[in-house]
């Protein structure tokens, strides 16, 4: 007789085992370890919530302390390997296999753990790729998530940092899994229900609020003149050129510089309302001056940003907020918007090769991908037209074919040299070396060359859409690679020809005087200025203050 309810039965077993330590759905903080030991089984697929922003850090710390003779060989399927306790899971044998998306501070430890076989790697994904697999072949048995508030029934308020909680819970709760939430506070009534109680099995009031990394805060004080020059070129040579209204920005300083000169340089060029009106973007504090100056119509966010909550609540015309007035973020939806509804992705990278492949892998460090590859990929399923999209498509196809499709603009900004004079333009990505060392089937590439449409360095813009051969592509890239070996290896004649054709454009070709690239152009030159722009609503984390 076939059994069709085994997962249900197992789920019930786990719930029964846990009922000893729970009071209804509520579990005391000091019983959390017992709870985890009750609901977990060796070999389980476990999603420990945590990405590049929020972390279920209390549950992570507790999971790293469970008895590894009882709980072992877990298969972690989670966005981020970010905390020390994430590494401890593998160090202690509690977990063995890993499918993930992003690693921050643990990038180097992760590479070592792969090399020594401490971690068996499934794959490195982009965010939505991993979410997709949650409902396909990597469905979690147990999800350990984080929320701000819970009521006694288990209704959760995940608030501004909702991020990926809904997608994790969806995949787990509706496939007979167990959902455990750590919350900052248990209340009588939650401000709003982000996750309904019947998708939540247990709630623990943690001994501290869940950790959030202020990853998207860039101090304007550290924006350099070179970055401002690149920002000017990008605005004039790409934003204005294509009339880009819907876009996503990466987290680097060059894009922060763009945000900061929209109200000055962009204003001078008369571009207000014509570019950069709709965004798929985390709440970058550096965008505050542009918002306050009326540049921005609306922003949907992957997550929140530390200190921005009050500001966003007060600017509900711009941000997505609930009836309770606070931001609602959603990583899956925002990534989808980035993929299908943005005409441009523009972000920084650390290395680019002669074909335009771009990577953030540096020797001995695996940074993962996060969401950039989705933002930075042409969506072949897109069907709605915009001027920017069509113009890019026409440029790529010489404008002859009757069925010319559009192209997403995918722009990589990079200074020719990085810290310690390491060249950013290279013959071969460090990623390839790393793949060989770690025996990876697939070298981690952030954005493939065939998706990239423009490369911006302080020397100029290379428009790869206009290149008609591999040689032209290579010379276009060399032509903006400055004084790096790659740059100095250019063929001067070809580069000159590409410049005449507008494939390469230098600041002077765009009518930009190098000497205008001054910090005076920044609408805010410090975090303090951002606070002032926000009318005191932005409350930066202490580490960014100098007052």
């Amino acid at each position: 007789m076939a059994q069709w309810q085994r997962q249900r039965d197992q789920q019930q077993d786990r719930l029964n085992a846990a009922s000893r330590v729970a009071n209804g759905k509520l579990v005391a903080a000091d019983k959390t370890k017992a709870l985890l030991e009750a609901v977990l089984r060796p070999g389980d697929r476990v999603c420990l919530e945590g990405d590049n922003q929020k972390q279920a850090d209390f549950l992570a710390d507790t999971l790293a302390q469970v008895d590894s003779s009882k709980i072992h060989d877990l298969h972690m399927v989670q966005s981020g390997i970010v905390l020390q306790s994430h590494m401890d899971l593998f160090e202690r044998g509690i977990a063995r296999k890993l499918d993930f998306s992003y690693s921050g501070a643990q990038g180097a430890a992760l590479a070592r753990a792969f090399a020594t076989g401490k971690i068996e790697l499934g794959a490195i994904h982009t965010y939505i790729e991993l979410y997709a697999r949650y409902v396909m072949d990597l469905t979690p048995n147990v999800a350990l998530i984080a929320a701000m508030e819970s009521d006694r029934d288990g209704n959760l308020y995940t608030g501004p940092n909702t991020e990926e909680t809904p997608v994790i819970v969806e995949a787990t709760a509706f496939k007979s899994g167990i959902v455990v939430a750590q919350v900052n506070k248990i209340v009588d009534k939650v401000r709003r229900v982000d996750i309904p109680a019947d998708q939540v099995d247990f709630v623990v009031q943690a001994d501290r609020p869940f950790y959030v990394e202020p990853l998207f805060t860039r101090d304007p004080a550290n924006v350099t003149e070179g970055q401002i020059l690149m920002a000017m070129m990008a605005i004039k040579g790409i934003y204005a050129e294509y009339g880009v209204k819907r876009l996503n920005h990466g987290i680097g300083f060059p894009t922060a510089a763009i945000e900061l000169i929209l109200p000055t340089y962009g204003e001078k060029l008369g571009l207000k309302g014509k570019i950069a009106t709709h965004w798929a973007l985390n709440p970058h504090p550096t965008l505050i001056p542009a918002i306050e100056s009326g540049w921005v119509e609306q922003i949907h966010s992957f997550g929140s940003e530390v200190g921005m909550d009050q500001y966003m609540s007060a600017r509900s015309d711009i941000y997505f907020t609930g009836h309770d007035g606070t931001l609602r973020s959603n990583r899956l939806m925002c990534q989808t918007a980035g993929l299908y509804a943005c005409d441009m992705f523009i972000g920084s990278t650390l290395q680019i090769d002669l074909e335009g492949n771009s990577s953030t892998v540096t020797p001995g460090r695996i940074a993962g991908f996060g969401g950039a590859p989705n933002m930075g990929a042409d969506a072949h399923g897109r069907r709605h037209p915009t001027d920017a999209w069509l113009k890019a498509g026409r440029q790529a196809s010489d404008g002859t074919a009757a069925l010319t499709r559009g192209r997403k603009l995918v722009v990589q900004m990079l200074e020719t040299f990085g810290e310690k004079m390491l060249p950013h333009f290279v013959e071969e990505l460090d990623s390839l070396k790393l793949a060989k060392e770690l025996n990876l089937e697939l070298a981690p590439v952030m954005i493939y060359g065939d998706d990239i449409t423009h490369v911006v360095s302080e020397e100029g813009i290379a428009n790869l859409l206009l290149c008609r051969s591999a040689t032209e592509r290579e010379q276009a890239i060399r032509g903006v690679a400055g004084f790096t070996d790659v740059g100095r290896g250019r063929d001067r004649k070809t580069v000159q020809m590409l410049r005449q054709r507008g494939v390469i454009r230098r600041p002077e070709d765009l009518g930009i005087n190098l000497l205008d690239a001054s910090r005076q152009l920044l609408a805010a030159r410090s975090i303090k200025d951002l606070v002032t722009w926000s009318g005191g609503l932005y409350e930066p984390p202490s580490k960014f203050r100098n007052w």
């Binding site: 306050e292 030159r525 580490k543 007052w547």
Partner: protein
Amino acid sequence: MSTVFQPHEADWYEATARERITGLLDPGTFLEFVGPEQRAMSPHLEQFNLTGAFDDGLIVGGGRLNGDAVFIAAQEGRFLGGAFGEVHGAKLVGLLRAARDGADKGGPKCVLLLLDTGGVRLQEANAGELAISETIQAILEARLVGVSVIALIGGRSGAFGGGGIITACCSRIVVSQHGRVSVSGPEVIETNKGVEEFDSKDRALVWRITGGRTRALTGAADRYVKERIEDFRAAAIALAARVPAFTIETLAAEQHRLAQRVQQYGDCRDSPEMWRKAGLAEPERIAELSDDAFLAIPQLKDAHHDAR
């Protein structure tokens, strides 16, 4: 909030030492002494694999402030943290001695000290420490003959270590919110006493303890100004007009003033505790106030004194 962008006014924090001098003095009046073309550079840095600066991070010269002749010295806080080395310090000492010697011969009666320093440059620690002591002596000798010395602090390196002591030896002190004045830096305290004593990464705490607002409200600085160079200039003009004489009466008053502060606030661990005692509205939010709101606090005026 205005939707039209207001261009930045030149601010002190952002400016280089040379830009501060230019903005502070009457236009076109600055004349540099031992200028960069003389290449009076530190001979000690090379052995530490450091390149120097043509002015060794300190610019000295003369000029006019609101028509009156002044001497001026400015530290470049971005070059080695504005720290005192041998040449750097000697230029300052020379300037102050020139003021002292020239005071009764028609020379400038005012020296503007644009401090922006982490203290002693460790690569030349002994020379730096001594230069600080010599600077203090020279300031006091100049004050004795009627020269006023005005400290202006609002740069990224603040006035730390010996720079803090120098500050408090001046006739008057001007600070902005960014300006920190202290002896032991937060990192030094954390290293020596542990993170529980002073978490140097908690920058809001750093400013609550050492920042311009705390100094202004306790009377450790005489004038609080906004970040603009023109505000520093206005404060310098206003304060130079009348300074405390360096006499036994002044020091007796200072003894009393400082003793009172210990008595009143000696058990406080953080500045909001002090503001609560002082009866300020919203003691926790002093750092968050706009400059205008801060300047309107009545207790700020009460902190004015001549006991320096």
